[in-house]
């Protein structure tokens, strides 16, 4: 992160930070919001109808459903939450927590599937 010294010249005019969204800007944002809203509804409809269409492969169903969910969540995060134009610090925090989330889930899952040879993970009353 940048050295505090460097902000010297702008320090006095911190107000700039908010006024750069002028009304015109916001009006175009609103169009985006509505667009995203529609996309989200469409995504929901696709996910649900896919369920009724009934693919043979469960894995495929899961993959598609999660794919659509990821797109939807990207839209929400990027546009509603303005992540698309967010500051570096925020990206940093999110990337760190994403990494740890993946580590938690991934390593746990791996840990629960790598046993010494001959271990049986499910039944207690082995014959």
């Amino acid at each position: 992160m940048s050295d505090n010294h460097s902000h010297g010249p702008t320090g006095g005019s911190a107000t700039a930070g908010h006024d750069d969204h002028d009304h015109h800007d916001i009006a175009s944002h609103i169009k985006t919001y509505i667009g995203v809203f529609i996309a989200l509804l469409v995504g929901t409809v696709i996910t649900v109808s896919m369920y009724y269409v009934h693919f043979d492969s469960m894995a495929l169903t899961i993959a598609i459903a999660l794919f659509i969910a990821s797109i939807k969540s990207f839209l929400v995060a990027a546009y509603f939450m303005h992540l698309i134009s967010e500051k570096k610090a925020i990206y940093g925090i999110l990337i760190i927590s994403a990494i740890f989330f993946v580590a938690l889930g991934g390593l746990t899952l791996w840990g629960m599937h790598d046993w010494p040879t001959g271990a049986e993970g499910k039944a207690m009353y082995v014959p």
Binding site: A14, G17, H29, I30, F37, A69, K87, I93, M112
Partner: protein, 284 residues
């Protein structure tokens, strides 16, 4: 003396305090729900065959009410767009429109919770039944001519509790239509409901769709309840901003706008969790 950067961003980070604060909080929320989702995946992957004979699946699914769940998803999405529109209205100095959108948001939130409690009730009065001869059903229980209900919790029975009632020796059971094997299809394709008359000593197992019944219900109720608490908390905060908290708009408009943005970020996150939760518990 006031804390700096509550309204203006700090030049070198480009952030005002609360924005950084809420994102940090959301990062921890990612790990909280991340932990729960990891638990879900693990339990599901490790689920043993035949634990839930009624649907002939290791992991019962397709038991939730999909049309209602879809509708609720739409409700939540709507509230998400209205909250960002509320913020945009403030940015455009239109307080009246801000308040309108905020009211819609809170209304959506409350509807979501109302619908969710309807669904909960539906599950708490839905039963899983296994007979001594190995047959298994899901359906509704009728004891002494009445459906036990959630709101009167003393009437939600499992087998032991039923047997403990001395005046009950037999029950009626409205079985759900048979489902296609392998892939439950929710409420789709209604066939006729079978009515069973049973003596209590024919029954091997009887329990409502409660958390204790199966790990699926356990995780479903736990995650959705936690999510519901987030919805409730968010609704309270947003309602506060819409009315009593709105005083700040007069004195510190920028700080107030920031608060709305921060509240909105939380609200979108709640929506985000649902975007994953819905397909995962309802559809898969």
């Amino acid at each position: 003396m006031e804390i700096p950067y509550t309204d203006k961003p700090r030049p070198d980070t480009g952030l005002y305090n609360a924005k950084l604060g809420i994102w940090l909080f959301l990062a921890s929320e990612i790990m909280l729900f991340g932990g729960l989702f990891s638990a879900y995946i693990l339990l599901r992957v490790n689920a043993a065959e035949g634990v839930w004979p009624a649907v002939k699946l290791a992991w019962p699914h397709g038991l939730l009410n999909i049309p209602i769940g879809t509708f609720n998803t739409a409700v939540l999405i709507t509230s998400s767009v209205t909250v960002v529109l509320a913020w945009a209205s403030l940015k455009m100095n239109n307080f009246a429109r801000f308040r309108m959108f905020m009211v819609i948001t809170v209304f959506c939130a409350l509807s979501f919770l109302g619908i969710k409690s309807y669904e909960y009730n539906e599950k708490f009065t839905h039963y899983e039944l296994r007979l001594n001869d190995g047959k298994a059903y899901t359906g509704h229980l009728i004891v002494n001519g009445e459906h036990p209900g959630f709101w009167d919790f003393s009437k939600v029975y499992n087998l032991e509790q039923l047997k403990a009632k001395t005046n009950v020796t037999s029950i009626k059971f409205t079985a759900d239509p048979e489902k296609a094997e392998g892939h439950g299809h929710g409420e789709a394709g209604a066939h006729e409901h079978k009515e069973l008359d049973l003596k209590t000593d024919q029954i091997a197992h009887l329990d409502a769709f409660l958390p204790r019944n199966h790990t699926f219900f356990a995780i479903y109720f736990t995650i959705t309840a936690l999510h519901g608490l987030h919805v409730l908390g968010g609704a309270l905060v947003l309602a506060y901003f819409a009315f009593p908290g709105a005083k700040l708009w007069k004195t510190h408009p920028e700080q107030f706008t920031n608060r709305i943005e921060v509240g909105g970020l939380f609200w979108h996150f709640v929506d985000l969790v649902w975007i994953f939760l819905f397909p995962v518990v309802y559809l898969l």
